[in-house]
Amino acid sequence: MATKKITTPLTDEVVRGLRAGDEVEITGVIYQARDSAHKRIVALIESGDPLPFDMQGAVIYYMGPSPARPGKVIGSAGPTTSGRMDVYAPTLMAHGLKGMIGKGLRTPEVKAAMREHTAVYLAATGGAGALLAQRIVGNETIAWPELGAEAVARLEVRDFPAIVVNDCYGADLYEEGRARYAKS
C-alpha cells in the first residue's frame, strides 16, 4: 500500500480521506502532551482560559521524550500508552483536536467522539523512540516547563511515520488485525 503524505493542521477533508490500516507520513507541526499536560489543558478549557496552542485542526502526540544531548533536537521520542488520555480526549476533540498519535487501545467513548467530531487516531511504533526522533526536526517547549518530560512542546516533524488505527467512520485496526490472525 502506498504511504499517504499528510500535513498539519488537519482538515475534515483530510481526516475523511484516512481509513484504518492506512500508512501515513506526517509533516508539519504537532504538539507533545501527555498525562499532566492534558489535565491542565482540560482545566483551562473548563475555566475558559486561553490554551497553550490553537486546538483547531491540531494533532497531539502522546509522548514524553528523554532529554536531548547537546546539539540534538530531542532525545528518544516514541509514543506512550494513549489510554491514559482517554478521559480528556473527547473534550479536546469537541474543541477542535483532529488527530492523536500514540499507541494502544482507546475506549468506546473516544471512538464515538472521533466519529462525532471527524478526528483520527494514529499509532506510531512504541519502543522505536530512537528511530522516530530522527523525523522530529524542531522542538520548542511552549507550556509548563516545570513538568519536565510532561511539558507541552511544539514539534516540527518531517515524514513522521504512523498507521491509522481508528478512523472517523468507526473502523478499528486493532480489532480487525487481531481477528485476521486469531487462531482460537
Binding site: M63, G64, P65, S66, P67, A68, R69, K72, G75, S76, A77, G78, T80, T81, G83, K103, G104, L105, A123, T125, G126, G127, A128, G129, A130, L131, A133, Q134, G148, A149, I163, L173, Y174, E176, G177, R178, A179, R180, Y181, A182, K183, S184
Partner: protein
C-alpha cells in the same frame, strides 16, 4: 573462606554503567529474537514493525540515544555473597547513587514520581530504585539491572486463584492478561510468570523470571513445557507486533515457581515490552 572487602563505590560505578548501557544497547538475546520474529511473522505490517525495531536498536547503539524514551524504573536484583564485607557506605544508597549518576549523565528520562497518591512530584533523578537483595554463598556480588517501562508494567496482573482451578485456570489468567493488554504494552512482549509463594513473593518471582535470556530453556523440563504451551497459546491470540494483528505477539514466556500454601494458588503475570533491557555484572 576469608571475608572479602568490597567498597560500595564499586557498586555505584557498576549501577551507573548498567543504567546507561541497558538503555542504549539492546541485549543480544533480544536483538536476535527480533530478527527471528520478523522471519516467523506472517503479517506484512508485523514484519515492517520488526524492521523498525531492529533499525531502532541499531540507531540507539550507534548514537547512544535511549532505545525507548521511557527509560524505566531501575529494578535491581542484588545477590550478595555472605563472605563479602560491604565497606565505605550504605549499600542501598550506593545503588541509588549509581542510578542518579547514570540517569543524569546518560541523558535518560527521569520517570519516578513521589507521593504517588496525590502530589506525584518527579524526584528528578529517577531514584529510588527497586532493590531486591538476597544473601547467597560465596564472596561475589552479582547485580542484575532491568529498566522497566511503565506501559508494560501497567498491563501486569496478580491473580489469587483457587487450587481447584488448576493449571487450566493459570493458563486462562495469563491469556486474559495478555488479551486485555492488547496493543498497550508494545508487543512483541516477553511474559514473566510467577507461580506459588505469597502475594508478595509471587510478583517478585514474575519479575525475576524476566531476567532470563530469550532463547534459554528452563532447566526443569516440566516448567519448560509449561512455558512452551503458554507461548503457543499467546501467539494464537492474533494480537501481533504493536497489536496490529499477527502471529508474533510474544517473544518468550519465563516461569519461576515456588511452593505455596495449601489454600492458595497465586499467579503473577509481569508483562514486558520488546525493549527487554536487562544486564548482569559480577563484582
Amino acid at each position: 573462606m576469608a571475608v572479602r572487602e568490597l567498597d560500595v563505590a564499586a557498586v555505584t560505578a557498576a549501577v551507573k554503567a548498567m543504567c546507561m548501557e541497558v538503555n542504549y544497547d539492546l541485549p543480544d538475546d533480544v536483538y536476535e529474537a527480533l530478527k527471528a520474529g520478523k522471519a516467523a511473522e506472517e503479517s506484512a505490517v508485523g514484519k515492517a514493525v520488526f524492521d523498525q525495531l531492529v533499525e531502532n536498536a541499531d540507531i540507539a547503539r550507534r548514537d547512544r540515544v535511549p532505545i525507548c524514551q521511557d527509560t524505566g524504573f531501575a529494578v535491581i536484583f542484588a545477590e550478595v555473597g555472605q563472605e563479602v564485607h560491604l565497606a565505605g557506605g550504605d549499600f542501598a544508597a550506593a545503588i541509588n547513587e549509581g542510578v542518579r549518576q547514570g540517569y543524569g549523565e546518560g541523558y535518560l528520562r527521569k520517570s519516578i514520581a513521589e507521593e504517588p497518591a496525590q502530589a506525584r512530584r518527579n524526584t528528578r533523578d529517577n531514584t529510588p530504585a527497586v532493590i531486591h537483595t538476597n544473601i547467597v554463598p560465596g564472596d561475589k556480588v552479582t547485580l542484575t539491572m532491568m529498566a522497566k517501562g511503565g506501559g508494560a508494567e501497567n498491563m501486569s496482573s496478580l491473580n489469587m486463584l483457587k487450587p481447584s482451578q488448576g493449571w487450566a485456570g493459570m493458563v486462562q489468567a495469563v491469556l486474559d492478561t495478555v488479551s486485555k493488554a492488547g496493543a498497550n504494552p508494545c508487543p512483541p512482549i516477553v511474559i514473566g510468570v510467577g507461580i506459588g509463594g505469597t502475594i508478595d513473593m509471587v510478583t517478585v518471582l514474575a519479575k525475576k523470571a524476566l531476567m532470563r535470556d530469550i532463547g534459554s530453556k528452563h532447566t526443569d523440563e516440566r516448567i519448560a513445557d509449561m512455558e512452551t504451551e503458554l507461548l503457543e497459546k499467546i501467539n494464537a491470540l492474533g494480537i501481533g507486533p504493536q497489536g496490529l494483528g499477527g502471529t508474533q505477539t510474544c517473544l518468550a514466556v519465563f516461569i519461576e515457581e515456588m511452593p505455596c500454601h495449601i489454600a492458595s494458588m497465586p499467579i503473577a503475570v509481569n508483562v514486558q515490552c520488546h525493549a527487554q533491557r536487562h544486564k548482569t555484572v559480577t563484582l
